[in-house]
């Protein structure tokens, strides 16, 4: 139907293609290899020279070489992950620039960039990046709009960008309907490419060095909001993630993977439970955070024998979930099995003889295990231990070295030492890794837990009570538990050392701290309402806000909104297309013509008033004088120079036309 030769690329659109593409690619800095940017600069340069007529398009030989070389470079420099897939996509968009000569090539480039702009969200989801991406989308839409203006438009850039913004705003309502109501189904297939970027967080092997490193990071770990039961005392905020049951002599690790139990359906918390909601950052692991004793409320979250929560899939996207904590003092359900007893008493042979001797000595002074544990805890308090993030390097028997020689360390050292000593005298014990404390936002009522809140403590088995929590760090640095890491390190000054520009560092500057907290609040709301809106949240939203009990109902609403959308559009179109009311002069003239039509005088296009009137005279010569005078009057009024009595003249003209019309009617009658 249309032309055989494809439509050519509008010249004025090219700079915008390059601009919008640069803008989109800029957002991927750090995620794709840097040489891709060099390739981009080359392609832009070449295409611009082609645009100016200095260089021809690359021939197919050059194109083939570039494509092969680029693909080889990407394959050689990266693994099969999200980054390399993105690099491929970006490279495709860049190379397409070199052969962009038709309008259809522009569509391919712009659409690819839309996709890349979407891919950026797989790497970055903060509110800042969202705003940056909005501008990217706006630029891309502008490019499309510009390509459809003809070349001769003046002031088209302003009009184009305005048009693009209008388009975005007009499509916003429909987008929101779809966003909230479109059924959120689970992933279509399990294997999706994931980013190779190392995620900060706990690991299932505890090296003291790891925790020291985490302590330097202010990255967000998770945020918590509590139900009406409120937040527990700060000393109770122990967020459990991992149980490290196996000691190798150098490190503690999670060896034993206990059985998981999955709830059959979603549950509401009972009145004896404190429920809280966690929005957790991606960890790349399948463990979740909870306070003991935890209960799972969601179908997708299992709980194991150690009371830890797990998901089926590793958490690669921010996850929002609800957990309950039993508030009743329940008796331990069962005793340890032989296997468990063996696991929690495991020790490597021949390590730390001095620590074992100390434990045995204290055991002989104690009547019960509880008394012994008290004595062990007291030991940390009485001896001059100090809390530091910069401990000295320990020898082969590191617990001995730590207890009797350096006497300085942080949570991992204390927890490891206590567990070791308890196990050495036959008391089942385990190291628990997770986070402790957090920062409470009073106005918005939520708790922020950051990586530097990472902590390790001890759980000890007592047949009468079950697993009891012992935190030897509290004996050494009570501030760490009561006020957080910053206070604990106030003297040493090593809090966020080397992170000169971290806002966490300047909590003492009042306005900076206020700003930091407001920014954090915005981010929190962003995560809570936008980023963590998933299947579960959608169900809640549909049930509570819209009163739906079946997801199909949302499809009806979507269908209804389509109808409403098109109805509104039709009404607006109809409104626009209504014939504008002609001026009184034209109205009178048209009436005259309709009248004259009955006398056999058909109006012709491109006819002047005089020509028409002459024909009218031929049709009814008896009115010659009247018609002629009217024609003269009209011409005089139409072709006069601007005169002050224009209005009066117009009225007179209209009167004459009306009079003539009447005369013609009389004649007919």
């Amino acid at each position: 139907m249309t032309t055989k030769e494809p439509l050519s690329l509008p010249r004025h659109a090219l700079p915008w293609v390059l601009l919008s593409q640069s803008y989109v690619l800029m957002q991927l800095v750090g995620h794709i290899p840097y040489w891709i940017y060099a390739l981009f600069v080359l392609a832009v340069g070449w295409r611009s020279l082609t645009h100016m007529g200095r260089l021809s398009y690359p021939n197919s030989y050059i194109k083939a070489v570039v494509v092969v070389a680029t693909s080889a470079a990407i394959i050689a420099t990266s693994r099969f992950d999200l980054e390399s897939a993105t690099a491929f996509l970006v490279a495709a968009g860049i190379l397409k620039l070199l052969e962009m000569r038709h309008l259809k090539d522009l569509y391919v480039v712009v659409f690819l960039n839309f996709f890349i702009q979407g891919i950026v969200f797989l790497f970055e989801q903060s509110i800042g990046y969202f705003l940056i991406a909005l501008i990217g989308v706006w630029l891309l839409i502008s490019t499309l709009v510009l390509a459809h203006y003809s070349d001769s438009q003046k002031g088209r850039y302003k009009r184009t960008t305005k048009m693009a913004a209008q388009l975005m705003l007009l499509s916003l309502p429909m987008m929101l309907v779809l966003y909230f109501l479109f059924p959120r189904i689970g992933p279509l297939w399990g294997l999706t490419l994931q980013s190779n970027k190392a995620l900060t967080g706990l690991s299932d092997q505890m090296n003291p060095a790891d925790i020291a490193e985490l302590s330097q990071s202010a990255e967000l770990a998770f945020r918590v909001t509590f139900d009406k039961q409120g937040i527990p005392a700060r000393q109770e905020l122990y967020w459990r993630a991992l149980v490290l049951d196996h000691y190798t002599g150098r490190q503690w690790r999670a060896q034993h993977t206990p059985q998981l139990q999955w709830p059959m359906s979603d549950q509401e918390p009972t009145p004896e439970q404190r429920s809280y909601e966690i929005i957790q950052e991606a960890t790349g692991q399948n463990w979740l955070f909870s306070m003991a004793p935890a209960a799972t409320l969601e179908r997708g979250i299992g709980i194991n024998e150690q009371g830890l929560l797990r998901t089926r899939r590793p958490v690669f996207q921010r996850k929002r979930y609800q957990v309950a904590q039993d508030l009743t003092e329940a008796l331990p359900a069962k005793q340890l099995s032989d296997f468990e007893r063996r696991t929690y008493l495991q020790l490597p042979k021949g390590y730390n003889p001095k620590a074992q001797a100390l434990a045995q000595e204290l055991q002989q002074q104690s009547a019960t295990e509880l008394e012994l544990l008290d004595k062990l805890m007291q030991y940390f308090y009485q001896q001059e231990f100090s809390y530091t993030l910069k401990p000295q390097i320990l020898g082969k028997n590191e617990i001995d070295d730590f207890l009797f020689n350096t006497k300085a360390g942080f949570c991992a050292h204390y927890a490891g030492a206590l567990t070791f000593m308890a196990r050495s005298v036959g008391i089942p014990a385990r190291v628990v890794a997770g986070y402790q404390g957090g920062e409470w936002n009073e106005t918005e009522q939520y708790l922020t837990v950051r990586q530097y809140d990472a902590h390790a403590w001890v759980e000890i088995w007592q047949p009468e009570f079950g697993w009891l929590r012992y935190d030897p760090t509290a004996m050494v640095a009570a501030d760490r538990i009561e006020f957080g890491l910053e206070q604990a390190l106030a003297e040493e000054g090593s809090f966020m050392e080397g992170q000169l520009f971290s806002m966490q560092k300047y909590k003492s500057v009042a306005w900076l701290n206020k700003l930091r907290i407001s920014l954090d609040t915005i981010n929190y709301q962003w995560q809570r309402w936008v980023l963590s809106y998933d299947n579960q949240r959608q169900k809640g939203f549909l049930e509570k806000v819209l009163g739906f009990n079946h997801w199909q109902q949302s499809l009806y609403i979507i269908a209804a909104s389509f109808i409403v959308f098109f109805l509104i559009a039709s009404v607006l179109l109809w409104w626009r297309l209504r014939a504008a009311k002609p001026s009184p002069f034209i109205q009178a003239w048209q009436k005259l013509q309709t009248r004259a039509q009955k006398l056999g005088v058909q109006p012709k296009t491109g006819e002047t008033v005089t020509q028409y009137c002459n024909r009218l005279i031929q049709a009814c010569p008896q009115h010659e004088a009247l018609i002629q005078s009217t024609a003269q009057q009209i011409n005089q009024w139409l072709y006069q120079d601007d005169s002050p009595d224009d209005k009066a003249m117009q009225e007179a003209v209209i009167e004459s036309i009306k009079h003539l019309t009447k005369q013609l009617s009389v004649q007919k009658g």
Partner: protein
């Protein structure tokens, strides 16, 4: 097999009913069609890919962007339609021409108060002219070379737009009525003079018009005066366009007759008559035309020539 050719007559019939021939049409839902084009198809593919990606990564921002781009296409559809609807297309005053010549047909696009951007128009296979209108009336030309004499029968003209995003094509097929005439293709052959009948036919003595006519005087130039009549010397002296008038050239009057070309087919006769009319006009003769049912008396001038040519163009073979 049923193919496009089979449907063509039905389609044309339907189209003629839906968008009849007219000299002025305001495009509306009746006359504007809209479908997603190839770029629209590519866009749908993009949306599907984005949706799959957002589902697999459970990424809300990507979901949002996907839905936004989808809604954008709906809005774009409305705007593409709106961009064409409301445009008034008017057939301008076209000049008559001879069969075989090319005539420029003025098409007026009245963009009313609203904006109409990136509008293309042309015949089906040749849509190349683009314009933007911001409330003014724009004149463009459509080229037409008539294949047969009579009123112009211009093919349907396509007006289309892809503005703003190029995802949809909105178009209309317009049959504009230019009501201009195509005269028969002139064939220049020597005059044939019929014998006998008397003075109103021809006096063949002075066939070649030359300077030996009697000069009578000068008068104001009138449209239709032939080139040889113009007093070039006067013009060169800066006295404006002035025509030489000759003494009534009795001899140079002739009547062109249908019957004098007796055995020839209709169209050939018309072509030759047309050629004679043109030659006679060029030579500033007085001439008349005698067709079955039509008789145009001896006269000269531009208006007279047009009258004769019109009669030839509209000749329908039988007496009126």
């Amino acid at each position: 097999m049923i193919n496009a050719k089979f449907w063509q007559p039905y389609y044309q019939k339907w189209l003629n009913k839906r968008i009849p021939k007219t000299n002025k049409i305001k495009l509306s839902h009746r006359s504007v069609f809209i479908v997603p084009n190839a770029a629209g198809g590519l866009y749908i593919l993009l949306l599907v890919l984005m949706l799959i990606t957002s589902i697999n990564y459970q990424n809300n921002l990507l979901f949002g962007l996907t839905f936004w781009l989808f809604s954008l296409s709906l809005v774009a559809m409305i705007l593409t339609f709106r961009n064409l609807a409301g445009l008034t297309v008017i057939a301008g005053k076209a000049q008559p021409c001879f069969v075989g010549e090319k005539s420029a047909l003025p098409v007026l696009f009245e963009t009313s108060s609203s904006r109409h951007q990136g509008i293309a128009f042309g015949y089906a296979k040749d849509i190349s002219s683009y314009f933007d209108g911001n409330g003014e009336t724009i004149q463009k030309f459509l080229y037409y070379s008539p294949a047969t004499r009579g009123y112009f029968d211009v093919k349907r003209m396509r007006v289309e737009t892809r503005f703003p995003l190029g995802l949809f094509t909105a178009w209309s097929w317009l049959k504009l009525d230019f009501s201009a005439l195509a005269y028969p293709q002139p064939e220049f052959v020597p005059f044939i003079f019929s014998e006998g009948e008397g003075e109103e036919h021809t006096e063949h003595a002075q066939l070649t018009v030359s300077g030996d006519q009697d000069f009578y005087g000068l008068r104001e130039y009138q449209p239709g005066d032939s080139m040889r009549q113009i007093a070039w010397k006067q013009l060169a002296k800066g006295r404006g366009l002035v025509s030489k008038e000759f003494e009534q050239p009795q001899a140079n009057s002739c009547m062109f007759e249908w019957d004098s070309l007796a055995p020839l087919p209709v169209e050939v006769r018309l072509s030759r008559l047309c050629g004679w009319v043109l030659q006679a006009h060029e030579k500033s003769w007085q001439y008349g035309l005698k067709l079955p049912g039509v008789q145009i008396p001896l006269d000269y001038g531009l208006k007279h020539k047009e009258q004769c040519l019109t009669a030839l163009a509209l000749f329908n073979g039988k007496g009126a």
